[in-house]
Structures are given as structure tokens and as C-alpha cells.
Symmetry: C2
Subunit: 369 residues, 2 copies
Amino acid sequence: MSFYFEIAKTQGKARAGVFHTPHGDIPTPVFAPVGTQATVKTIPPRDLHAIGATLVLANTYHLHLRPGDELVRDMGGLHSFMAWDGPILTDSGGFQVFSLAEINRIDDDGVTFRSHLDGSKRRLTPERSVAIQENLGADVIMCFDQCSNPTDRDTLVTAVRRTSAWAARCREAHPDDTRQALFGIVQGGIFEDLRAESAAFLRELDFPGYAVGGLAVGETKAEMYQTLDFTTPMLPDGKPRYLMGVGDPDDLVQAVLRGVDIFDCVTPTRLARHGAALTKDGRINMRGLTYATDRRPVDPGCTCYCCQTFTRAYLRHLVKAGEILGAYLLSIHNVHFLLDHMQAIRTAILEDRLPEYAGQFLHRYLHTG
Amino acid sequence: MSFYFEIAKTQGKARAGVFHTPHGDIPTPVFAPVGTQATVKTIPPRDLHAIGATLVLANTYHLHLRPGDELVRDMGGLHSFMAWDGPILTDSGGFQVFSLAEINRIDDDGVTFRSHLDGSKRRLTPERSVAIQENLGADVIMCFDQCSNPTDRDTLVTAVRRTSAWAARCREAHPDDTRQALFGIVQGGIFEDLRAESAAFLRELDFPGYAVGGLAVGETKAEMYQTLDFTTPMLPDGKPRYLMGVGDPDDLVQAVLRGVDIFDCVTPTRLARHGAALTKDGRINMRGLTYATDRRPVDPGCTCYCCQTFTRAYLRHLVKAGEILGAYLLSIHNVHFLLDHMQAIRTAILEDRLPEYAGQFLHRYLHTG
């Protein structure tokens, strides 16, 4: 089997495992940096390997519009195109269609929208999304789903039924997971009965992995954690569970405690481009005057190139001067920070001390206590 | 002696040598990439080493204004601040004062101007320029000079006399070249008698190196080459000769043929940020539709990370999508291209075949023939 999920150890609901893919093994829990346009912004693949990235996400919507999924296919697929030989996951395009594009019509068959780049009229259906993702050639591909406000029950009822029907069509369009594994996406917002309906339907389709979609899009953190509390037990134990779009360091450990294995988020690279750094003592804004002559690394004790080489004073100068090098160095650091955090979480599970690690990490990161 | 220039081989006027500095040996002729704000734009020092950079230039005017030369001094000087342990050269600030700032007054004592950043009123004199450069701590520092239109004889007469007087004051302010070598700058535009007057005066001050200033600022290439033809023989044989602000691949070889040893220019990194790449067949604009599915590297045969890893199709996508990674990869490539070119020039001198190399390079680069 080219895809196989192995759980090495559990502690409570948390799982330490390995997700085997055709492009390499992914120790889980794992954080996947996001390469929206076939590049994790500012970070060359050489550095992604160096900071320990295993899985990278790319966005179907963006790549379909530019440079075009057929061009990517003709250039040998995403791995070859972006020179990343590790595992890749593509989303379905649904989230961007609903958040970036100008929607013309949603119906039971799919979505008609206008490109945010050139206004051209496009249509995405479950079958088209799968076909585009097959052209892109990622290891893990996602079902086309309808993402809605997680607290708007009326809309969610329709969205869940549509997401179920679309998942069945995606499964039919992509019946064989040998080369690319198709994951289902559970919707239902913060409502337990809707999540249960969605999860039950998707389990029947026997996907090699399941995502929890529609979170981290407006609800409170408490609502997100509660939703995970009741949703992960609805998913099969032996399959990887993927919480989409979540990357705050505190959310990562909270979600692993609740049984999640895979995460992705643009946060670390987006923060970097805005001059913010993740540290064990919380997020800091490098523009602060307090860093002007600070000789310490961005995050003391960190082993990344940025922290091993440069001072906060220099990073502050780069950010203030608008230098690209600042965005690059902080991107390297922020992504490394999350990868390192996930590795520490995994080790803690293996050593039966995740609650202790979580407590200490959250205490320091959130300055509680 | 901490600074020593050794000529290993000459061919005609061209020289292959080594310029010894406290931060390392610089094989010459050499091209110095420009790190205006204490960073060669987009390129971390690790990569500068990897692509073979030996000497890096930083701009006194910019660093004086931000983050401030005293802050840089307090952080251990430029080498420590920007984490570049190789040789560094700073310019005098003169060129930027005359090109970027809003000038209030030029007089025989110095220049009063307003910062282009915050409009604050500042004054630069020969003594201040030296003091700022001493704070920055580069290996090679430059005399404060007046740069003028190279074909406007009337202005140049005054500029040459002022540059001479200012050079004497810089020499007096910095009499000891042990830790930092102070270079003189010959002015005089395209006029042989003015260059002769300037060079004769500066030779009396016995600088450890001499720059040819005021070129590549509006005159034709033919005028620049003619000016070099008569100016380099006015400079002492045993000292390094530095042609400021020149970095076109054809100009580099033409100037080495005329006896120049050191160059700097923002061109390779600036072109990169605009999506242009240097190749042995000339400059190309990566946006071109012709590259959309081009599987070749940016410059076939090139050994840099960009060319060894990525296709033109991918670079075109990055540039079109406005991705920072595109600017970084093209910067790496363009700087490597010039460093590689200079190394080939040096080898050609050592092997007594510079004219042949120059002919072949120019024929292909300029598509002549």
C-alpha cells in the first residue's frame, strides 16, 4: 500500500504515528507549511528540508488560475515544478472559492465564480476539483466541500448535505488511492448533530483520511476545542485526522490533545512578512523599540539559521527598512518554531508526558500564571 | 601589514592579484555585491559565501540614517551586525547625498541636506564621513567626494578641487590604515586634464587604493571606456583600482582590460527584483511567455542553486505571481553570474588569454556577429 497510517503510541486521545506516502514518511502529529502558489512564501525547498518540513500544502484554487493545473501537469506535476520531493497536500479549492472569488452561483452541482485575478468566469464542481488536483499531482488531495459560517446553523444544514453529496461524487471520480489519497472533509460548524451526520456519511465512503473543516474561521477558541472534543471520536481511529487551517502554537497542542494528527496554516509565513516572530514566550513584533540594541536571537535557544546567526537588533533593522531578508529569516524561524513544537509534542506523546509538556508550553507561551 | 595588494600576473593593462584585508583575501579582479542597508538584498550571508562572494559593499548614507552608525558600532560593527565575516567596503555617503537627499547647501566645508527618510536636517563633511565609516567598521572606507555630471566641465572643475581638498582632510582624519584602509577617489568626469589633476593630487596623499568615481552616471559606454583608457595609467601600479558603481557584464570585462581591479553595483539584485536574469546569451526578462513551459534552467550550464534546481517555467511563475522566492532565486543567480564571470576573467589573465575570453564573452553576451 502506498499510503498507510501507523499509530506508534497514544496518550489519552493524542496519537504519535507515521503517515506513509509515496514521497516519504510523515511522522505525526505534523504541521504543514502552506505553499499557496507552489512556494512556501520566501522559503526555498532546500531550507524547508533543513528546518524539518515533511509535508507541504499547496492551493488548488490559486494554481488552477495561475500558472494553470494543466501547465503544472505538463511540467511533471507539483513535486517537479516546485522542486519539492517530499509529500504534498492540495486543498480542494473550495475554501478560496468561498473566501476570495466573486461568487456567481452555488447550486447542488457546484460553484460558478469569477477569478480574483482577471475576473474570468469559472466553474468548480467535485469532479473538476478532483481532475485539477490529479493534474497537480499532490500525494494527498481533498474532497470539494462547502465551507460556511461555523455558527450559522441554517446555512450549515444545507452545506453539510451538499458536502456529503459532493464527497460521494469525489470518491466516484477518484476511486483509487494508490497514487493520490483522497481525504474526506467533515463539516457541520460547532454543532454536534451536524458533525455526526457529516462524519457518519463520510465514514461509509471509506476515505484513507479525514479532515475537520470549517473551523478557525470565526468561532472562539473554546468553541473550536469543544467541537474537536466531540468530532474526533466520530472519525475512524486508524486513519489520519487533519484539522484544516489551524496553526497557532496553542491551538496545535490543544488539538493534538483532542486527537488531531495533521495541521496546516499560513500563519508562520504571514506573520513573518508582517515582522512578527513566534517565541516560547509568545508572539513578538520585531518593530518594537525594545529590540533596537537587543543582542539576543529572536528566540533564545532556537536552533534555526536565523536564531543561530542574527540578533534581534539586526532583524528589527531589516523589518524597519523593509528588507526582504527580514521576511525570509522570520519565515524560516516561524516555520521552524512550529515544526520544532510539533516534534516536541510527538516526543512527549511517545514518553507519556503530553499533558505536562502542554501545560508548560501553554503557561509560558500564553503568559498565564 | 593588514592591507597588502599583490599582483600575481598581468596581461596588457589587466591584472590578476590578491588584495589582503583583515577579514580575508580578495582575489582580484573582484565584483562586490551591494548590501545597501547592511544586507545584499534577499541574500543571507550563508548564500553569499556559497556563491563565492568575497567583498561586500554597504552604504554609509543609508546606514547613518537607519539604524544609525553609532548603533552599528555598539552592536560590534557591520561585520558582526550583518553576520558577514568577509571583507566589507563602505562608500563615503557622498553619492547618495547628491542623488537621494534634498540638498540644502554645498560649500567648501561639506554638504547640508535633508534625510530622504524623515526630512531631518543633516550635515556631512569629510571628517563626519570618516567618523561614520569608522563607526561602521568596514575594511575599506572611501574619501568623501563631490560627484557631478561627467560631461559638465564647469561644475567638474570645482568638484575636482573640492574633492582634492576633502581627500586631504579625510586622510588627516584617518591617518592610519592598519584597521581600515582609506581609498582616494579620482574625479574629473570624461576630461583627461581634470582626471590628471585629481589623480596627481591624490597620489601625493599615498592612499592604499584608488577609486575612479563619477562614471556610469550618464555618459556613454564609449566615453566611460575612453576615460578609463587615460585614467588608470595615472594611478600607481601597485595599488588596487576600484571602478565605482559598474556591474554590467560587458563593462566588467572592458574595464579589467583597462586595468581595473575592483567593482561594485546594485544591478544584479535590482534586475532580479524586476524579474530579469543575466545569461551568457544576454539579459532575459523572465516574464516572457516564451518561458512558460521552458524546462531549461535560467542559464544552462550555470552551477548556482537556482539553475541547478529550478526551471525557467517555475521562475516565470514565481515572478508573474509576485513571489519573493523569485526575487531571491534570481538574485542568487545574477550575483553568482557576475562572480563567476570575474573568476573566468581572472583565470584568463593568469593563462594569458584575456582578449580571447573577452571576445568570446562579448560576442555571445551582446549577440554581435
